[in-house]
Symmetry: C2
């Protein structure tokens, strides 16, 4: 397939968006990465994003989204569910956060003449995050294109993959070296804690795919 033109990858520095970054490198002639600083509990994720983009020589921009702390710092914080994996959501969680991120990404892409957006959202995350589901993303694409008189396509290469399938895709698109630097752990530490829900989910994915997590290899080299 001929390479498409330019894409902007919404890039958190986590496992999924790192896989998407490499997927995009295979699909597009030119890519940029955009991260959001929303006072997330751990800056280590943004540092991972920066390191991975530097290694790959991909232009990377971090947008200040502290806006969320103005919305999320009050009632929302108090009404947060605290059981299950929800426990580890940052306390600035805002409903529809991905709607805001993708709309801001579209405005940013517009200014660079970029028509393709890539995001690692995944339908399997739907229970906790309705803004990750396929219907939401497709409705948002329509709203954005009407609202900006634009022709964005929002690509979601991981939408229907489980974690093991994501890992296999990561291998296929050559993301393993970058995944060594990606951040997943809810505790925000390196080496990762290994016991939080995020670490367990990551570990399960690699294990089911029968692939060694390059992050573990890096741990064994660095610690």
């Amino acid at each position: 397939m001929a390479l498409l033109d330019k894409a902007l990858v919404v890039f958190s520095g986590g496992q999924d968006s790192t896989t998407c970054l490499h997927w995009a490198l295979k699909q597009f002639k030119e890519i940029r990465a955009l991260s959001f600083d929303y006072n997330q509990r751990h800056k280590i994720e943004l540092e991972a994003a920066r390191t991975i983009c530097q290694n790959l020589k991909i232009p990377h921009h971090i947008l200040d989204f502290s806006l969320f702390s103005q919305i999320g710092g009050n009632a929302l914080t108090d009404t947060m569910p605290i059981e299950g994996t929800q426990k580890s959501l940052p306390n600035t969680f805002v409903p529809g956060r991905n709607l805001m991120f993708l709309t801001a990404a579209a405005a940013y892409a517009y200014s660079y003449g970029i028509n393709h957006l890539v995001t690692g959202v995944c339908q399997t995350d739907f229970s906790g995050y309705p803004d990750c589901r396929d219907d939401t993303i497709k409705a948002l694409q329509v709203a954005i294109n009407l609202g900006m008189d634009s022709q964005f396509v929002i690509h979601t290469p991981l939408m229907w993959l489980n974690k093991a399938e994501s890992v296999k895709l990561a291998l296929e698109v050559g993301a393993m070296d970058s995944l060594a630097y990606s951040h997943t752990c809810y505790e925000g530490v390196f080496p990762p804690c290994g016991v939080c829900p995020a670490c367990i989910l990551r570990s399960k994915g690699f294990s089911e795919a029968g692939i060694l997590d390059p992050l573990q290899k890096r741990v064994s080299l660095c610690v």
Copy 2:
């Protein structure tokens, strides 16, 4: 008609949203107003919003949206059309700005258990601002509700009105006292310059409706 429950009014302090604020006072039991500080050229608009809400004893919040200056401060600024009324757009203009505002408003409303959003967008503004058109707003409502698992209704009382009809609606909903404090002039001055495209449009609306602009009355009292 029985009054609906609670609404959040997206409130700039301009003529249209002031009319909407009073429209909402007639429709809902309880309202809040939300403004956005996006480094707009003239703070006088936000001051107008604050004064009007204080006079009406309506809870009012100003969200810091300086985020836009990070997106709009570069390429977008350079590609701005400079002819016609577009000349007076602030240099932080971002495509799809209303998409962001309404999505942030929905997140804010969510935290207060508010299901109704009111905005003064108008289809007649479509040429310059595709995010003001009816199709955009309806698509956005769907995207927001899917993305937040919510049931927001976005009300747009001015969508199909011309300026003279808006003025008549303002009279009908008792907005005249507030309109004396609303801000319109692109020059950001009081008394308004009277010759910029915004002043001329406002003046034309009142004149066609056969109603004296209360802002003019205030000017004659204050200057």
